[in-house]
Amino acid sequence: MTTFWLGVTGFAVVLVSTGLMLALSALRRKSPPLFRTIPVFERLQDAVGRAVEDGSCLHVSLGNGGIVTPQSASALVGLSTLRRLADLTLASDQPPVATAGEASLAILSQATLQAANQTAAAGTPYDPTSGRLTGLTPFSYAAGLLPVVADENVSANVLLGSFGVEVGLLTDIAERRSVYTLAASDNLPAQAVIYASGTDFLIGEELYSAGAYLDAGPLHKSSLLVQDLLRWGIVLLLVVGAVLKIFQGLAAP
């Protein structure tokens, strides 16, 4: 296949996905789709409720995926989750704290928290230090996060973004402090570390479904439906490809 046709195919996939997202969002506005239950999100909402009630702080960590790198998507999902959680907790005495290991992500977290503060009936004025850069290398970022988790009256940690294996240090300190933690990363070794750490976790594409499960908007839900449709398409292509390969093998002398 030539480069031109590869480009056309890629563009067609993007265009069809966009059309499906908009159409499903419009069609399903009155009867929202039902997704399988992911208990982690129910426990997260309970933890958010507890944080609001007891006046403790919610900590959202966005990882160290740069905004101009392939890891940006998980960081953007972290930001949209931060926005949703900020909306849910801004009426409390303690606004959420967001930390990032990448400078542009830290600035975007400040913009997100400020926007949420302006739109909600905020219990406290916007604090510019609530969105923070804690370190610029993976381990300095993790080291900078440890005092936030340990000292700042944090009752729930949400680690959503691009983390490496250093995420193990964060889940360990949270576990020692008996602080509720939900962790998810787009990085495969980090997913294995998170699984072994015993905290609540999201594996694979579950990270990208956070917005849909936290009621962030109709487009989040329709995008999850589109993800499922595309997955079925890929499954079909893989099965057809495997069958054709078998027949090719059988037909060969």
């Binding site: 031109f4 926005r83 542009s104 975007l108 739109t119 250093e166 576990e175 495969l188 570390v193 989040h220």
Partner: protein
Amino acid sequence: MRGLFSTVIAMAAGILVLLGYFFSVQLLFDLRYYLVQVAVILAGFAVFVGTINLLSVHITKIRKKQKGGIYGLFLVFALLLTFFVSAFFGPTAELPVLIFSTIQLPVEASLMALLTVSLTVASIRMLRHRMNLFSIVFLATALLSLIGMLTLPLLGEVPVLGNMLRPYLVQVFAAGGARGILIGVALGTLTAGLRILLGADRPYGGK
């Protein structure tokens, strides 16, 4: 109004970069290159702004005598010292490189070592907290893979495990699972990007 302006810029830039990626038209390619360069320059400047943010967070901590303020004092001192030394001698001079190789590097290496210990503890803790089939399969696979990597004296690699079972585990089950997860991640990345292009997610602020 500011929110609308940011949304229009983000959507237009995103669509132009996407078109430049799919179609090899010179104008689109130039536009894409220019926009990515602008983003890289802004990200570079963001490091400077982020460092000021880091400094202000710790100065506030020291001023308000919050818990751990003493560590903040160390951080501010080290940050300013490194900044002035690097600015005076240049970042590739002997002294800044010495600071990096004798302080930053060993500290990060020791954190890596600490991670190994905490992961071992976590895997034992996992069996206590989450004793189910998946946890047992997870730990058994990790153990079999590790044992399969061993080289025994006189024997070489562990028989059966090293030359048959481990390659099968790694190349069939692990690689297949990893591919499945990565396909899911790719689909999630696509839809997350589309939400930004459609203005449904606005990480740059706005209502």
